[in-house]
Point group: C2
Chain length 542, copies 2
């Protein structure tokens, strides 16, 4: 096929197909339906999440004037009928959020009359309303839904579609986090993995050890107080998003030493921080001291109560052995305890804190190093977050662990901004920049064929480490690249016919999603000149 012919075809793509992420199954007609005054009603069972979602999407739809860039010449379409009402029904009002939450929904939009949205759970309604809102397009001074009647049956391929987000290296206001949650919902993402603390700051209030935030937050105004955290969790819940906090131990903990210097090793070693840590400032909990375990368990005890999700992340990444082998206290301990070594101390640390976490009823979530770079063997309910390479995903599922992949080579959205050590004019370790095409092309299930092992893949998380980001630039860093992951995690890599979707095919839909997000107040970055967005295919590589 000649490209010019293909462009004609692409430009004629019906807007009902331009949903992001694309539904699992969709059939559509050839009529258009007026949608200026659609009232959303619930029939039967309801729930606070449903009520909140309806109120939110009612506003969004009422204000919608969005027209996709590829449709810029469309003009006003004739409508064959008009939609007065969208009726929502749920089977269960259970609002529990977790890996087993049912997000499926069925949406019917007739040419005329009443649309219906049916879901098993309140969260299926949240997803279905997002789909419905994406169907509504500006039509002159009115609104329309194109290509009716429409029938959609939809549900996610993976139950875990997340963003791993670092609020320690630089601070993000509560409002900027709420905006991120909005955008996640626009992309049907459902997990906010909050990497809340790290070496640089401890921005979350601690009631059990108040010094942590009093001395560790960048300032009192750069602190997430309990009320802020609860607000974020509630806001996320209303959008079907779980909030999984991470308290990373024993590495990445320099800031703890501002309050508890007595449980630290290798605090802020200079100039040779690189001998002790992946980045400055160095500092790890001293695993030879039982007080480090007590400290961690205090943290677990406090924050497992604050965060309702049944998964709790314990970090465990980038632990540096030199930090301990060169620590005089650790050396003294080991001299007095023949038969022990740094590895056995680390196993003891992980055992104690993971065992304690288990007593709280929570499931442990942990970076892959906890298993692969230590002698500790987490119990099989533990979820591993892989970031190093695809081989780690394969190894983890082969050993029976449930896995989420944040492969740095595909999903580290902070990468490609070059090094950030001011006296070094070099690249970043994780260059180059991960384009949306690169994000989209990653397949978390690559090289895994055993169906039992495949089942252990829970999903994926893009990650944003904040060395070079803060709330002033975050929208463009995340969007629309996180959207690319969101579609592969919701819709999968293949369409119903088994065809693996290509970036060339989906670009036009992603443009539409990018401009839709901008219309909704998210400062997503443009993928191309607007001319290319308006002329699908014309800016493809031959």
């Amino acid at each position: 096929m000649k490209l010019s012919a293909m462009i004609g075809f692409l430009a004629a793509l019906p807007s009902a197909l331009a949903l992001w992420p694309i539904p699992r199954t969709l059939t559509q007609g050839t009529s258009n339906t007026q949608a200026a005054l659609v009232t959303i009603n619930v029939q039967g069972n309801s729930s606070p999440v449903v009520t909140s979602a309806i109120s939110r999407y009612q506003k969004l739809i009422n204000g919608e004037s969005f027209v996709a860039p590829a449709d810029y010449k469309r003009g006003i379409v004739k409508t064959a009928g008009s939609l007065s009402c969208l009726t929502v029904t749920i089977k269960s009002a259970d609002e529990t959020l977790g890996l087993h939450t049912d997000e499926s929904y069925t949406l019917d939009v007739p040419v005329n009359g009443t649309a219906t949205l049916k879901a098993q759970s309140p969260y299926g309604v949240v997803r279905g309303l997002e789909t419905f809102s994406q169907l509504v397009t500006g039509n002159g001074y009115s609104k329309a839904i194109l290509n009716t009647p429409i029938h959609i049956e939809d549900s996610p391929v993976y139950p875990h579609r997340g963003l791993s987000f670092d609020t320690s290296r630089n601070f993000y206001s509560v409002n900027s986090i709420l905006r991120i949650l909005d955008a996640m919902a626009y992309n049907k993402m459902n997990t906010f993995h909050w990497h809340v603390v790290d070496a640089h700051s401890w921005p979350i209030e601690s009631k059990s050890i108040p010094g942590l935030h009093q001395k560790g937050a960048y300032s009192s105004s750069m602190t997430y107080y309990y009320a802020d955290v609860k607000r974020i969790i509630q806001y996320a819940k209303e959008r079907g998003i779980r909030v999984i906090p991470e308290f990373d131990v024993p590495g990445h903990t320099y800031i703890v030493g501002q309050t508890k210097p007595e449980i630290m090793s290798c605090t802020n070693k200079l100039p040779n921080w690189d001998h002790f840590a992946a980045e400055p400032p160095s500092g790890q909990l001293n695993i030879a001291k039982p007080e480090s375990i007590e400290f961690t368990n205090t943290i677990i005890s406090e924050y497992t109560k604050l965060f309702p999700d049944n998964v709790f992340h314990l970090g465990g990444d980038e632990v540096n052995r030199n930090c301990w082998t060169e620590d005089p206290d650790v050396q003294k301990y080991l001299a007095a305890h023949p038969g022990e070594d740094v590895e056995s101390l680390l196993v003891n640390f992980y055992t104690k804190v993971h065992d304690y976490l288990e007593t709280t009823g929570k499931t442990a979530y942990t970076w892959e190093e906890t298993l692969f770079h230590s002698k500790y063997v987490p119990n099989n309910s533990t979820i591993l977050q892989v970031w190093i390479d695809q081989a780690s995903v394969q190894k983890a599922v082969a050993q029976g662990y449930r896995v989420v992949s944040s492969s740095y080579d595909a999903y580290y959205l902070d990468c490609g901004h070059g090094a950030w050590l001011p006296n070094w004019d070099g690249n970043s370790w994780c260059d180059p920049f991960k384009t949306w095409m690169h994000v989209y092309n990653y397949d978390v299930a690559a090289n895994i064929t055993d169906p039992a092992q495949k089942k252990l893949i829970l999903g994926t998380e893009v990650a944003l480490w904040s060395e070079q980001s803060d709330e002033h630039v975050i929208d463009g860093r995340l969007w629309p690249r996180a959207s690319a992951m969101a579609e592969t995690a919701w819709s999968g890599k293949m369409d119903a016919s088994g065809h693996v979707r290509t970036t060339g095919e989906v670009a036009s839909r992603l443009h539409e999603q990018r401009y839709r997000m901008v219309g909704r107040g998210i400062n997503a970055e443009p993928m191309q000149p607007l001319w290319c967005a308006r002329n699908p295919g014309a800016c493809n590589l031959p």
Copy 2:
């Protein structure tokens, strides 16, 4: 010296030194001066630019509460005196902006009493007030200037310190351009090279050929009407910034074909656009047609009147020969004119349009290819904009041309975002990302030793091509990396003692400038974790 000792030293750096760009000479004392109610007065001569600058900086200083990140523990300083007044004097009220504009100023801030700012021209006042505003820091509920008395004598090393800015590939609202001009003034940049049109859109109103914007702008709301352009020029002037427009010919002109298809070659060739252009859509003025020259001269005639600057950019980059050699019209013309070829046609085109430009009294500014990749020899008043490599700078000055460098390898701030052709998961041709350190380390005068040749270097321009940028992400794309160029162009590479400044040394000042810009509403990107900004040197590579 141990780094920990050095950190102590760096942290104690007096704030008067933390100016960006750093003044040529500065002496300071050990007192601090209260600066809560400073009135700025002009003594003797004044001018509208001076009046506007005083009003602007009076507001800025009145609202200032900024404290540098490295000073976060400073607390309230004791003041030994108080400043009531800043008195401004100028020698000449001449407001002509150009390469010979005198931007020098002398600033004296005593411990007590009245500060003085003396300048040759209104634009020296603009620069001096920026410096003065950077001296004012929040001090509890009041304001202070630290390390008084201060004496500054300052002037730029290069007269051309610019930003080359593309508003064709994606559109930028007038407000977003004004914000860029604000930020340029905060960094003492003085040239807005407005790459206003390109292949993708023609966003500027044309009164002589209205079809150009009517058919070529992305929409009527994405058009710079005359009133908008005049507003931008005036706003820039008040900040001592020249606006040099570029109308790029004969390449990068696809959009002209929407109005004048009869003067185009190789319009939007698909799928093999890459055979005809550096990026899609392809299209160049047909140089075999005298109407192309007429068209260009009409454009020159119109816009040399709209833009008052005495320099006018004619583009000339990335001309593609295949576009013409494979054009049937060009082939027909050449068959009928033995002895001519594409090269002679191009020389004829450049001769005619450059000669015409000369009749308007303007100086031609042109991309290096006009000289180096064609047989045309521009006259010696022409300014060449080099972008390919340092060898081009050397060649150009060796041939007696005045030069501005926008070396892509140092100054293309759009690079490093990966490819943008949706069906290709690759890097961009100009990867990697240009870090601020990389920008800072570039030396436009490298390998040029002859003083006469050095004099031909007018300065530098960072460039922002907008394939992957628009107003939603622009602040972070430009700042603080453009600030890095701004200092090297204003202050030069070396301090008064001949020491070449290093990025490790200047990082703390640039952090301060970045946070100052954020405080002033510019969403500049963070260079590092705030912890690093607060602890100068602690995040350096050992």
